[in-house]
Symmetry: C2
Subunit: 301 residues, 2 copies
Amino acid sequence: MGTGYVRSMQPVVHVAPESDRAIEEAITTAGGRVGALEEAEALVWLGSNPNSFPELPDSVRWVQLPSAGVESWLDKLDDKRVWTSATIAFGKPVAEHALTLMLASVRRIADCVRAQTWTEPPVRPLEGSTVAIVGTGAIGGALIGLLEPFDVEVVAVTRRGRDGTLPVDRLPEALPRADFVVIAAPATPATRHLIGAAELDAMRTDAWLVNVSRGTLVDTDALVAALAAGSIGGAALDVTDPEPLPDEHPLWRAPNALITPHVANPAATLRRYLAGEVKENVARFAKGEPLMSPIDLGAGY
Amino acid sequence: MGTGYVRSMQPVVHVAPESDRAIEEAITTAGGRVGALEEAEALVWLGSNPNSFPELPDSVRWVQLPSAGVESWLDKLDDKRVWTSATIAFGKPVAEHALTLMLASVRRIADCVRAQTWTEPPVRPLEGSTVAIVGTGAIGGALIGLLEPFDVEVVAVTRRGRDGTLPVDRLPEALPRADFVVIAAPATPATRHLIGAAELDAMRTDAWLVNVSRGTLVDTDALVAALAAGSIGGAALDVTDPEPLPDEHPLWRAPNALITPHVANPAATLRRYLAGEVKENVARFAKGEPLMSPIDLGAGY
């Protein structure tokens, strides 16, 4: 892998597949210059489809991808340069969406929308809850910040259990305690179906599953069964498997399933958040400093 | 008005119209004793209907009411004793509901619930918004705390404009700036229809009105008209006028109206929050100290 630590006084950065004013302003503010791919030292890629990704000249020493989850990009990533994801740009908006789903769940917003009549649903507060957060990267970390004023108990679960968190193999200890189980970990072979029938069964019957990461971390069939059986309180999902969720999928009709169509950081606002991350990374690239959110090819995120 | 500052080593507190374990525990923990109305020095009233309120013996020097808004109780209040409302008990849960309504609004939860298909609604983040909060009592104050991590600009509007807030007669300055106008002020003759046609017209076309106080602060007909015309972004309301909102009321069908049936602090959780306030006030009453949330008969809250 390239190091990216070579200084480039005014790096030439290419923006593709389309131009974007906020991103280009971020590049020039940080001391870079927007230029053609042929002369570029860095590429900021704004497209969502890995298949349209261009052949890269060797001059490109750094590529900034536009998403936090990069599992669909992995076969494009080579070791000739540094690749960075957009975890910082996704941290705050996705954490905000996770909190929205948590609050909407316990305060029964979906019930109220459907009722269209003055009938009191069984509302309970988020305050005082126990929240298990699986994954404490930029999204999980930002969520912990948003939960700060709520007087909740956070049980953080991470791959290796560093920094006082619970290692993921001890997830079964966290599940029965949690009012919310929030999934904010990357999609890797190791996290596929992290939440399956056994984990759903270990959850409390009034607990909500919240997923803002990738649908594949949850076994959808097991979830549909758990919701139908009432063995968990509900599921609030911004991501599903399959995705998009087909109209005929039973998850749409499962009781207490609240589904938003992968809009935690929609395109309209992503550019605004991404511009901040690009600005910081272009400045670091120009100075030859380590970049934010480098992708670890071995770990897959 | 009684002062409530007379010490009573182990005050006798009556709980009515029904008993409640959490409230009675709070009383005894604070050094009081639960007893009959005839011998009581204080009354904790848990009923919601002012008409069922009992005749009080002169021995009762303090009455704790079970709600933050007390406009329907005013003709029961005499100057023979201290009356306290439950503003502290309502602060956190109602602020949490206000934040829920704000987040659900901009993240289009109602649209998603109605769609039941994978169609992206126009989501935007709360972060970075400007939030006008009318009323900075326990609810508005708690909401400001919950908004702390969101990097929003808060414009606080109060009756007199003290402590760096905007006085309510300058509300027109705040309205055009706000992404959210949150109503958290008490219902008094002065606040009736505080938000009418002119105020709605001054709001931005993408701004949301959030009301967690009392329906009468908003002119419902003007609101229905503004929603129909699209002159504001939407309205998220836990309180309405009339209330309960009849099934045939046009507000149910107004575009971008999100209505919850006065559940910001539902009975199920109110007792838990109220117990904390009762405990503190019984302790203060026993020591002859000023009580929390005394009702100002002149101001009406």
